[in-house]
């Protein structure tokens, strides 16, 4: 993988602070990054702070980055269960001339304009079409409850609490992911596999 390109991408994101998106390296591993984006204004997601898991394959940027919301989101194109995203540029419409920044900005745009015609989460999409006010309420409630900077940093604290035991950061992330954020379960899992 072209580490130079990723360094350049990170630098560019760092430089442009106003964009509302940022990316953070997880230790030395450039295959796993964490993205952050602010909820777009005048939407149910306004004020929210969303965390996105990013995985890069060796062929990146010639294959799309794998992205998933770690923060729970109520949105027709995002799975309310596991954060999976239905977005064309993360699939067959990816182009190597796109970047992590443009991809995160596209996620932001997706939050602003849901595409219920191409749903990832049928229940949410159904609600979006049939009962717009209820959808707005739920989305706002989820944003207030889950998409907070505290939770994002707590998430980070969880990782820290595991890495402080001597586990590498990426292992901590994988374990937390598989236990849906349960620190104790994650530690048990890591100890078992030792």
């Amino acid at each position: 993988m072209d580490a130079g390109r990723i360094q350049k991408e990170l630098k560019e994101i760092e430089r442009d602070k106003k964009s509302g998106v940022s990316v953070q390296l997880n230790g030395d591993n450039i295959h796993r990054l964490t993205g952050f984006l602010e909820g777009p204004k005048d939407t149910a997601y306004q004020g929210g702070y969303f965390v996105v898991d990013i995985k890069l394959e060796d062929q990146y940027p010639f294959v799309p980055p794998k992205m998933r919301f770690r923060t729970k989101v109520w949105h027709p194109n995002i799975s309310s269960a596991n954060g999976a995203i239905c977005l064309d540029i993360l699939k067959d419409q990816w182009s190597p001339a796109l970047t992590l920044k443009t991809a995160l900005l596209s996620l932001q745009a997706l939050l602003a304009s849901p595409e219920p015609d191409d749903p990832q989460d049928g229940v949410v999409a159904s609600q979006y079409i049939k009962n717009q006010p209820l959808f707005q309420r739920t989305a706002r409630q989820w944003t207030e409850q889950y998409a907070t900077r505290e939770l994002a940093s707590q998430d980070d604290e969880k990782v820290l609490s595991i890495t402080s035991m001597g586990f590498p950061r990426e292992m901590a992330l994988t374990a937390l992911e598989s236990t849906h954020g349960d620190v104790n379960a994650a530690i048990n899992k890591l100890l078992e596999s030792c």
Partner: protein, 646 residues
């Protein structure tokens, strides 16, 4: 030069060898009304990899010249039009701009000066413009990034042939020259392979030979229909051009497909595929849905469709009841379309027993065919030479034994498929009142039985009888011994007794081979005609036969010149009998043409028989020495007539 090779490699495949194979529709057959006849004549060519490349190049050159476009553009256009040069011309001249847009051909953009630096849009490093590459849209990227882009696309499969510029929203096609210029030899080779494969796979008239390790393709020399068409590749394997399964005349492809799926030992695998994949509605490649929403887009042909109802995604919208809950699917489910499917499966389980009956016979014949194939090879390798010494005959004159084996192999194949046919043609329980169906089943089973009986007999003679004969010869060795006085050689091999035994065997085997062949030809013809038509035909037979046999030449002339056949005239005279007459006229026309064909066949037969000094009964195979007699001295079978039941 092409013409020569064409000529050499062309086969006019015809299982019914005695049928005239001229293409100009002798005997007045109209392929529209008699598809089963056109099916018999399948003209095709076998092309090697080199020849394929030449063909591809020819097509490219032609398009490049006519449309004055570059080779890269010609490839795109041809691929879009399934390598059909005529279609290219049509589409191109109908709306050039639309076509160019559709396949991403853009006019060459002016390039700036090469003596300046520009940032590559992928790796963001700076490069001299002169060192960067671009598609005709002139969006430049550095060589390394192009390489990564192209290699990833090549690893992604044949879709690389429609590669577009890496810039989002730019639809310019990446020319093949650029792909090959930036890729390494391994990927380049793969790209060329995809290109050649596209030439064969997108082209309706070309099919790869499915034999393992064979790299030839077969080209059909006429419009391809969706009917079974047996072809034989230069490598020796026979397959159906339409469905790529082994050759299976007279059974149609649908039956074969169903049968093979049914027999699949990997039924578990199959269950998985059935349960977890659906074929792309456009390109038919199986697709597994392992994540995400119901909006599918095929990774190869890019077709977008709904996973539930398989209709194009464009037809989906709020109008049709929403996307997350496909209404088409729901209403079809309510209508019971999907229940019918499960009922059908249930039914198949119930009929397992009947299936076993047919399957065992199918498998038995399949096995017997493989055995016959190896026996034939064995005979060719060893037996003939041994025999040659025993009967003082050169091996070249013993070819009739190999012919007999070849006939056994071919017949086993046909017989095998008639069991698949029988399984699907007749239901589990034919109700007693359905006499037509009963009659057809009886008729089919009778013909199958007849063919099988002769095949078993032929197999027995060429295998057991021949072995016994050889054993017998061994007991009295052919090579002579030195007589006590030291001078006389007794050549047992050329003794009159042995020659008599041998020539009798020879006659019997040749005759039997021919009779068996005839029976199977008949069986194939009959099944291709369809049983219902056939019964109608036989019920009209005596009349039609008389008509046709009075003046077969006149009938064929009349038909060839396009005037009405006697039967058609009869229809014209008696319009009230319309339905029945139509059947009758059709049957008569059939019969007339059959007779006309049979007439030339008879002439050929007579000559051969005169040469041999005898004729052999078609039914009981006895040798009749009286060349003027028209019925068999043993069983009274008509010498030229259809074989009657004994």
């Amino acid at each position: 030069m092409e013409d020569d090779s064409d000529y050499e490699d062309s086969y006019v495949a015809s299982d019914v060898e005695d049928y005239p194979t001229s293409e100009d529709g002798d005997y007045g057959y109209d392929p529209q009304t008699e598809p089963e006849i056109s099916m018999r004549r399948a003209a095709y060519t076998v092309l090697s990899e080199e020849e394929l490349k030449l063909r591809q190049q020819e097509a490219l050159q032609q398009v490049m010249q006519v449309l004055s476009i570059s080779e890269g553009e010609a490839v795109r256009v041809l691929r879009h039009c399934k390598w059909d040069v005529n279609r290219v011309n049509e589409e191109w001249f109908a709306d050039t701009e639309a076509l160019r847009d559709k396949i991403g051909l853009v006019d060459e953009q002016p390039t700036g000066s090469g003596r300046r630096k520009e940032s590559c849009g992928i790796c963001f490093d700076e490069f001299w413009v002169s060192e960067m590459h671009a598609a005709p849209c002139n969006h430049s990227f550095c060589r390394g990034c192009w390489k990564g882009y192209v290699h990833t696309a090549i690893s992604g499969g044949p879709a690389v042939l429609s590669l577009r510029c890496p810039l989002p929203d730019c639809s310019a096609a990446v020319p093949a020259a650029l792909v090959t210029a930036v890729s390494d030899p391994k990927h380049r080779e793969k790209y060329h392979l995809y290109s050649l494969r596209s030439f064969v796979e997108d082209n309706q008239r070309l099919e790869w030979c499915p034999a393992p390790g064979c790299e030839n393709a077969v080209e059909a020399l006429h419009e391809v229909s969706n009917e079974a068409m047996d072809v034989t590749c230069r490598c020796g394997s026979s397959f159906c051009f339409n469905c790529k399964e082994e050759a299976h005349r007279p059974v149609d492809c649908e039956t074969v497909k169903k049968w093979i799926i049914k027999n699949s030992a990997e039924s578990e695998n199959l269950n998985w595929i059935l349960a977890n994949t659906k074929p792309c509605p456009k390109c038919k490649r199986p697709i597994e849905k392992n994540q995400g929403c119901m909006h599918m887009s095929c990774s190869q042909c890019k077709h977008e469709f709904c996973w539930l109802c398989l209709a194009s995604w464009q037809e989906h919208g709020e109008r049709t009841g929403g996307f997350y809950n496909c209404n088409k699917y729901e209403s079809a489910k309510k209508r019971g379309d999907y229940d019918a499917e499960s009922l059908k499966r249930e039914h198949a389980r119930v009929s397992l027993q009947r299936y076993m009956h047919y399957y065992q016979r199918w498998a038995e014949n399949d096995r017997a065919r493989s055995q016959a194939l190896s026996s034939k090879a064995e005979a060719n390798d060893k037996k003939l030479e041994v025999l040659s010494e025993f009967v003082a005959t050169p091996t070249s004159q013993l070819k009739f034994i190999l012919d007999a084996w070849a006939q056994v192999v071919e017949c086993r194949r046909i017989l095998k498929w008639t069991y698949a046919y029988g399984y699907y043609r007749f239901g589990d329980n034919i109700p007693d009142e359905d006499t037509a169906q009963k009659q057809q089943q009886g008729f089919f089973e009778f013909n199958q039985g007849q063919a099988e009986m002769f095949l078993e007999k032929l197999n027995g003679v060429v295998e057991k009888d021949l072995d016994n004969l050889v054993e017998e010869f061994k007991r009295e060795p052919g090579l002579s011994e030195v007589a006590p006085d030291g001078s006389v050689f007794v050549d047992q091999a050329s003794s009159p007794e042995r020659q008599a035994v041998w020539s009798k065997f020879r006659e019997q085997l040749i005759g039997l081979t021919e009779v068996t062949r005839m029976h199977f030809v008949k069986l194939v013809q009959e099944l291709e005609k369809g049983l219902d038509q056939l019964l109608a035909f036989y019920s009209e037979q005596p009349e039609a036969e008389a008509e046709a046999e009075v003046e077969p030449a006149a009938v064929s002339t009349a038909e060839a010149s396009g005037s009405a056949t006697p039967a058609q005239q009869a229809t014209a005279k008696a319009p009230k009998r319309s339905k029945r007459s139509r059947i009758s006229s059709r049957a008569a026309a059939d019969k007339a043409s059959n007779s006309a064909a049979a007439f030339s066949l008879q002439e050929a037969d007579s000559e051969l028989e005169a040469e041999a000094g005898y004729w052999q009964c078609r039914r009981c195979t006895v040798i009749n020495r009286d060349l003027n007699s028209q019925s068999c001295s043993m069983c009274a079978q008509n010498r030229r007539g259809p074989i009657s039941a004994s």
